[in-house]
Structures are given as C-alpha cells and as structure tokens.
Symmetry: C2
Subunit: 270 residues, 2 copies
Amino acid sequence: MDTAPFRIAPGETVDLAARPTDVSQGLDDDALEAILASNAEALEELQERLYAESKQSLLVVFQAMDAGGKDSTTRHVFGPINPQGVRVWSFKKPTPIELSHDFLWRVHKHAPGAGYIGVFNRSHYEDVLIVKVHGWASGETIEARYDHIVNFERLLASGGTKVVKIMLHISKDYQKERLVRRLEREDKHWKFNPEDLKERALWGDYMAAFETALARTSTPEAPWYVVPAENRDFRNAIVSQIVREALEEMDPQFPAPTFDPEAFPPEAIV
Amino acid sequence: MDTAPFRIAPGETVDLAARPTDVSQGLDDDALEAILASNAEALEELQERLYAESKQSLLVVFQAMDAGGKDSTTRHVFGPINPQGVRVWSFKKPTPIELSHDFLWRVHKHAPGAGYIGVFNRSHYEDVLIVKVHGWASGETIEARYDHIVNFERLLASGGTKVVKIMLHISKDYQKERLVRRLEREDKHWKFNPEDLKERALWGDYMAAFETALARTSTPEAPWYVVPAENRDFRNAIVSQIVREALEEMDPQFPAPTFDPEAFPPEAIV
C-alpha cells in the first residue's frame, strides 16, 4: 500500500474538500484484510523489540470529526498488539485542574515512555479545533498554539518519541449515515449525544480549522496523514501500514544482554 | 470450567506446596483454546457494556514468581479486548518519589476509573513479598501492611471497583525450565537478569510470604485465586474464566440514552 499520497508535506496548503474520503487503491476487502493481518504480525514483533530495547517510543495521534472511526481504528490496528506495550488515552472535556494549566500540560503527562506505543484518541489538537471553531480562545492564542505544538512535538522527538498524526477523513454525508445508525440501534444510543449535532452544523468551520492545523503542524518529526476513512477495511489497512512504516523506520533492536551469556550456561541455574 | 477450587476463602490457611501447578480439568489443548476464544468474545461484549455504563471498574492483579507467565497471560486474556478500555500497568522498582510516599500511593494513582479494566503486572503485593523476603521493612511494618491493603481494596470496592487477584502458581522446577529457555534463545536474553537467580534461591521464603499474604488479604470484596500456571492453555482459559465471571457478576448495562430517542428521528440529522 502506498501511504505517501496521504502524508501532508510541511507547509503544504491543504484542501480537504479535494482530498478523497473513500479510497481502495484497487484493493478489495479480502486483500485489505490480508494486509491488515500481515501488518498486525509485523507490529507484534516490532512492538516486542521496541519494548525490549526500551529507548524509543511511538505516539500515534488520532483526530476526526464525530463518527470518523477513531475508536474502531484503534481497536483494529492496536488490538492485536500486546496490551502491555500499548497505552491508549482518550482526551475528554478538560477538567478544572487541567484548565488551570497550559493546554499541553495534560497531554504531556500521557506521552509514552521509552519502550511504549501511545495512542491518543483526540489530543492537544482539540485546542486548535473545537476551541477555535467556538471562539473559546482569542485568535492570537490559537495562532501561538501552532508554534507551541510544533515545539512540543519537537521536544518529544528529542526524547526519542516518534510522533505520527492521523486525521480520519470523512464527508458530511457519511457522518450522517453513521449518526443515523446510532439512533436506529438501541445498543448504540450511548454513543449518541444531541450536542454532536451542533458540532455537525459547524462542519465547514471545522474543515477550515483542520486545514490550518494540518498545514501549520505537519513537520518532518511529526507528520500528519489525512486518511480516507469511509472504506473501513482500507482505513484499517492504511493506518496499520503507516504505523508499521513508522516503527520500521525506528528500527528497534533487542538490547545486548546485560550479562555475559557465557557465564550463564543452563547448568548455572540450580 | 470450575474456578472455585482456585479461590482462596477469607482467612483460609494456604499451603502452596499442596496446591497443584499443572492442571487440565480433563480438558485437552483444543478444548482449552476454544474456551479462551469463547470467553474472549464474551469479554469483548462485557467490556463494551462496562465502558458504556461508565459506573464500575474492574482491577485484575497479577503476581507470580519470575517466569510465572504474567506477561503472556495478560496478552492472551486481555489482548482480544478493545485496547481503549484496558489499561495495563507494570510496577517496577519504586522511584525515589514513590518511595517518599506510603506504599499504596503509587498504586492508587493507577486504579482504573469508571468504565475501565485495569491490569496490574505486579502490584502493592510486592511490598509484602520481595520487601518481606529481603527484610527491607520491619516485621511490624509488614504486619500492618496486610490491614492497609485490605482497607485500601475495600475503598476501591466502595468506589465501584471490583478487585480480582491472581497468583500464577508454578513450581521451582518449572521456573528452571523457563529460565534455561531464556538463556538458550538470544531473542529472550533481554528478559533474563542474573539478579533473578538470587530471588530464585529464596524460593521457600517467597512461598511463605505468598501464603501469609493470600491468607490475610483474600476478602469477599477482593478475592485471591491461586491458578496452576504450568499448562499454559489451561492458565489462559481459567484466568479468562475468572475475569469473565467477575464481569458477569458486575453485570454492566448500556445506560439509558441521555436524550429522548423520539425527539431524534433519523430525519432530524441534516
């Protein structure tokens, strides 16, 4: 699979309306599931090496409009990996204590330590998305935040954390389909919140806020990918491919033993 | 599968040498794998309900001698569950900051919040196991800790957290086999630490410390299970069974919608 078309180059002008939301790259569902399965196997091994090496970490950030599939993607891509090595964190409405600090404080706390894969379901990007769309912070504050984010992610990189950011890209029509489904199925009602419709009504503003955020914060250290997310098999496969490529680039190695293996022949264990 | 034989009754005198380490309950590997798979499916659904309900949480504590299979059990039992709803925490050697607080401070921080399943790989029990065996705290301190632990786990229960504690029980011979394997395979060297042999030499002291801890801290709110862990298919199946029964007893329910479904027919979404 080719992940390059979905990567945002630093400073690139992003036109989300021109970017596809439903893509297959000529692969049918069986082929896509096979890719996901083969990537899952590779990820298992890469995660074990990352954990054993314990020098680098990977942070995968998901952002999307409501019903964009953040939960489901997380489950399909990271589900097969040893749960001990993966830490998923969902950022909700900030608490009063969180709000009493700078906007990166609560995020920094959950940055993955050496050896771990961290997955953010929503993130500090909410502070330049929902906050911007609703005008909860001044234009000047938002403007400054793009730089704060770039510097923060550079700090993470300096500590050995590779950051990969993924926007799951869907159309407004597709969101409608998914929301209707939540209303039709009683066991999905808990996922529906009438407030979501107010955000939906601001779709255009959100797209504009995403476009600016993507352009301003996609860096070589922490690139953004805009992934077409309506074909769910494609979405899972391409996200697993992006994660796999990131880990392969990190190339974690089993560490040299901290002991002299010669000094510990099996007979040494009594 | 019958989990009852492995549950420690409150105040029960525990004789670990008399408790089996290799059990199948008449089930062959295929049957055991089928039970694990069927429990995994049930756990997926129960976890979704727990998360949706967001009122209760489950904490599963693993303790074992080195090479007892804590990592592998965690992976097999919790791997199939949505990683978003499961938080695994491995407790290592305490940091200076952690040591500057009471022994439950660092553990309390990682107690699962409502809707979550927490898994502890090692736990506050280290403070009445390794600490006791090495005499790093006085007998009086250790003695007091059993009560602190019982009270602490009662506090968790009062906040809606069900606590289930599992000792993966192996023999000293079996540990030897596993340690030899780590030395024979280069990709397992990172799991071997010569220091482990010093702990192995204290096997008898560890068993005595476990026996006291089990007897003193198995309560109706937070029972201990001593699970035979040498037959790995049995170990995975019985642990998944214990976790399943705990969640079934909690019986999490999808919450009533926070909106009037009548007021939101699909046409309401524009």
